[in-house]
Amino acid sequence: MAGGPVRAGGLVDPASLMRIASMELRAKVVVDGLYRGIHRSSRHGFSTEFTEYRQYVDGDDLRYLDWRVLARSDRHYIKKFEDETSLRCHLLVDHSRSMGYGSLGYTKAGYAATLAATLAQFLFAQGDAVGLVTFDDHVDQLIPARNRHGHLRRIMHGLEQQSAGAATDLSAPLQHIAEMQMRRGLLVLVSDLFAPLDTLSKRLSHLRASGHDLVIFQIFDPAERDFTFDAPALFEDSESKQKIYIDPATAREEYCRRFREHSEAIRTIASQLTVDFHLVPTDRPLAEALFEFMNDRQRRGRVIQRRASGAQR
């Protein structure tokens, strides 16, 4: 991956990146680039952080007894950590048909998969457990979060499978995930979120309520944001196959307004639920998105630390 066109300001141009066939390689390129850019970044991450001492009660696991404190003060204390193991992260990747749209030579789905692969690569390299859930109107494939040899390859393979899904119905798969009783961890939702707001809000709060930490990447094509069409045409919905006649000259303004409103509404919902929300156009370098994500996580980590001062393990 050497050469001018690949690097743009130290980051890889997504159009060039998408030409790489292997998802693993793409992720590697991005993550390597990221490391190069943020070499100062601390690696101490989100896990193994000591939170508090607590009085030992019968039934507590003796492994976490602080022997030193016992030796020193003859008192039984349990040493509590924010998370005993490393982070468990599930990548929720939308495969619905609307994700198949792309005006830049690659689709939103391709971009989303690469983003997910990048995150997976990055987290895996940190030693976190990474899982994958792909869905359209139902959960398509589910790879549980692991951190063992070969698991990353499995996730990459899962991301490479571009199944042409049906409609975006975030409601059903999110509910399914919420009901899966996964161990609490990080959920990264990568989708265009073209779905009704009320059910989306309900599902997200459900997920939050079950203790998951949530990060949302809304992927959109620049053409979707700016409605860069000139000629009137029959616009065909990729999911419902419905056709309506649109004259962009008259429709653009309203479209952009409503698109913005939708994104803003999701952002509002996200901030209400203390969920990280990232609006990612597909022409944005992936490393940037990833960097933003890491920054947020770091900040969030501290926030959690503060908030979780009385939390259970």
């Binding site: 009137p232 616009f235 919905d237 990729s238 419905q242």
Partner: protein, 716 residues
């Protein structure tokens, strides 16, 4: 040029559709795939500026195709219209109902008024036929044509005035079928007078014998039926008919009074009637019969020895079917001859039991004569049945042979083995009879219930012959022509029947007297004897009731008929034929078997005056042109119009120009498709829009075809 269905021209208005489509067409119809329309609202389609039409040739082709289709479905024809507008004379056959139900008050006057209307057009060929159970021509087509036009209607009125409704039943089905035949015959005879043909039925449409006769006939093409129904203002009608006692072995019930059936019509308004004797003797019986039902009542009691001749019904509106004439049914005498030497009062002999078995019944009066075997008997053919109980003398055997060969029936009982010897001569077969060795008793083991003699015992509860013990019987081998009726349990034939000449001989190998068997004591004996008597005797039940108009109900072999009589024993008047019995009353009939007095009455079916459903007629293929009483002129005009329509349709069917126009429409459609294809041939820079045009061209073709199929649907 003329068209068959001008309304289809309205379909040509459909050309507006392609014109509007061409005007309204949106410039860009290319499809732009997009991820989601959830933020989009449909924009209103933009009209083409002003009235500039795009793709003029395509538009013209599409309009042309639609117009051609409309013309094709309008079915144009090119010539010969003058030919079919000329007026044609037709045939009218007036069917006038003269059955008994037409004699109800007011109906005949209505019928005559309808007749006046029907014969008012002197230009037509008119015939008048009266009908009840049969057809009676009153005025033929030739009679009508033979008169000057001005005198024709008057002639018809004169002929009709000569008749009035009689007492016979009606058979509308037969009348219609016959009338259709008469018209067809006239058409064959006078071929040049083509034109409309119709039957004018003037009737109360009383059901009568129904329409069965019409069921087997085919209603001719183009023959219309105009119905002029006459109706009575008073719907209540009830009728009387006799309840006949079936001829049989049943003893008559204690009550000797005549039974009559009172039937009330379904449309009647009252249900209370009285039944009384016409001469006023005895009291009147009250009877309540709900509308649509019948009830059997006994005629009022009369003093003994004074038989009444007629029962009358009171309480309904119409009198034509209220009198029922009655005669006493005398039983038929059946002479039976027994040839044998045993005395009639000897309880060990055959004749003793025969005499006791042959008791008179209501319908049969057997009379037993007894003659010795050796004595010269009187003429045997006088007897219906001859029983031989022994071996007759040679002379008697000769006589018997002649009797059987000539068609007589005799029953031979073998009391001894030697009794069979004379049968050899009679039958021409060797019959060696021997006395059977019976241990204890023999039984009748097998019976052929298929034989007419034994068929009454076919039902299982009557078919048990095993209670009859047979002490002695004879064995002999029946000739191959014989039919064995019953076998003993040792397999020997018990009874068999031999055809001889045109007659037959029933041979019983044991007698019914107590010395031979218990047959005479069993319940099988009397039915057996009576069955054989009815088989062999030339017994014809003597009818005492005749239905007026139905010659078939006359006694068989009626030679001279005279009447009507004032009473059963009145002196004979001039003789008439069975067909000419038109009045109710008593008639004396001379038959081969003697003189009978029969009562002629109205057909009971005639009492049901509810009119026929016209749908029944239509279901039989009769084309009813005007069921309600429209004027004859209007009917004729209507018929002429339909005639013209038929002619036009026929001419059009011959020309079939619509096929060519339809073919032209298809050619236009194909060329439209080709032109559309030509337009959509990609020019380098206009690929998208011309593709859209191609798609629209295809759509246009589909649209036209859709219109065509819709038009086809409408046509069909």
């Amino acid at each position: 040029m003329s068209v068959l269905f001008p309304l289809f021209f309205a379909a040509a208005a459909a050309v507006i559709a392609p014109i509007l489509l061409h005007l309204l067409r949106q410039r860009a119809r290319n499809v732009q795939p997009f991820s989601s329309l959830m933020f989009l609202r449909p924009s209103p389609p933009r009209m083409q500026p002003k009235t500039r039409v795009e793709n003029l040739p395509l538009l013209l082709l599409r309009c042309l195709a639609l117009i051609l289709l409309a013309i094709a479905f309008a079915r144009p024809l090119w010539q010969g219209v003058d030919l079919i507008t000329t007026e044609q004379k037709g045939r009218t056959l007036v069917l006038l109902d003269v059955s008994a139900s037409m004699s109800r008050s007011g109906l005949w006057d209505q019928a005559l008024a309808h007749l006046d209307q029907a014969v008012s057009d002197p230009e037509q060929r008119v015939a008048i036929v009266a009908f009840d159970r049969t057809l009676r021509p009153l005025l033929g087509f030739e009679d009508w044509v033979g008169q000057p036009p001005s005198a024709r209607a008057e002639l018809a009125r004169t002929r009709v005035r000569s008749i009035t409704p009689g007492s016979a039943g009606s058979d509308i089905g037969l009348a219609l079928a016959g009338a259709a035949d008469l018209i067809s015959d006239d058409e064959t005879a006078v071929a040049e007078a083509q034109g409309i043909k119709r039957i004018v039925l003037i009737s109360d449409l009383q059901g009568g014998r129904g329409l069965d006769a019409l069921r087997s006939a085919t209603w001719p093409q183009g023959l219309g039926l105009s119905i002029r129904q006459v109706t009575s203002a008073q719907p209540t009608n009830a009728g009387l008919s006799l309840v006949t006692v079936e001829a049989g072995l049943m003893a008559e019930a204690d009550d000797k009074r005549q039974r009559v059936r009172v039937s009330n019509d379904a449309v009647s308004k009252t249900q209370a009637f009285t039944v009384a004797w016409s001469d006023g003797v005895g009291s009147a019986e009250n009877v309540s019969v709900p509308p649509g039902s019948t009830r059997v009542v006994r005629a009022p009691t009369r003093p003994a020895g004074k038989p009444g001749s007629a029962v009358i019904l009171r309480g309904d509106d119409h009198a034509f079917d209220n009198t029922l004439y009655l005669t006493d049914a005398a039983p038929v005498e059946v002479p039976v001859l027994y040839l044998g030497n045993d005395a009639v009062d000897d309880p060990t002999g055959l004749s003793y039991f025969l005499k006791h078995a042959l008791q008179p019944t209501r319908m049969l009066a057997p009379r037993l004569s007894i003659n010795g075997l050796a004595n010269q008997a009187e003429a045997l053919n006088r007897f219906s049945w001859v029983v031989v109980g022994g071996a007759p003398s040679a002379a008697m055997a000769e006589q018997l042979t002649a009797h059987v060969t000539g068609g007589g029936a005799i029953t031979v009982v073998l009391r001894q083995a030697s009794d069979a010897a004379w049968l050899e001569k009679l039958t021409g077969h060797v019959l060696r009879a021997e006395e059977a060795r019976v241990k204890g008793f023999a039984l009748i083991g097998r019976v052929d219930f298929a034989h007419p003699l034994l068929r009454p015992f076919e039902v299982a509860r009557f078919g048990d012959f095993t209670k009859i013990h047979v002490w002695h019987h004879r064995t002999l081998t029946p000739p191959p022509t014989a039919q064995v009726l019953a076998w003993y349990d040792d397999g020997q034939p018990a009874w068999f029947e031999l055809p001889v000449g045109t007659g037959r001989v029933l041979v019983m190998t044991s007698g019914w007297h107590p010395a031979d068997s218990q047959l005479a004591l069993s319940t099988k004996f009397v039915p057996l004897i009576y069955t054989e008597l009815q088989r062999s005797g030339r017994i014809t039940p003597r009818p005492t009731q005749v239905i007026i108009g139905d010659a078939a109900s006359m006694p068989a072999g009626a030679q001279t008929i005279s009447g009507p009589l004032a009473s059963a024993d009145a002196p004979t008047s001039a003789s008439i034929t069975a067909q000419s019995i038109a009045q109710q009353g008593l008639y004396r009939v001379q038959t081969a078997g003697g003189v009978l007095v029969v009562a002629a009455n109205v057909d009971p079916l005639e009492s049901q005056t509810a009119p026929l459903a016209l749908e029944t007629l239509e279901a039989l293929g009769v084309s009813i042109t005007d069921a309600d009483a429209a004027t004859a002129a209007a009917a004729a005009a209507l018929a002429r119009t339909s005639e013209r329509t038929l002619k036009v349709a026929e001419l059009e069917a011959r020309q079939k120009s619509w096929l060519w126009i339809l073919a032209a429409a298809f050619v236009v459609l194909i060329s439209e498709t080709m032109v559309a294809g030509l337009f959509s041939r990609p020019k380098a820079d206009k690929t998208a829009s011309s593709n859209a045009e191609g798609a629209e061209g295809a759509e246009g073709a589909e649209g036209a075809e859709g219109a065509e199929s819709a038009a086809t649907g409408a046509a069909s």
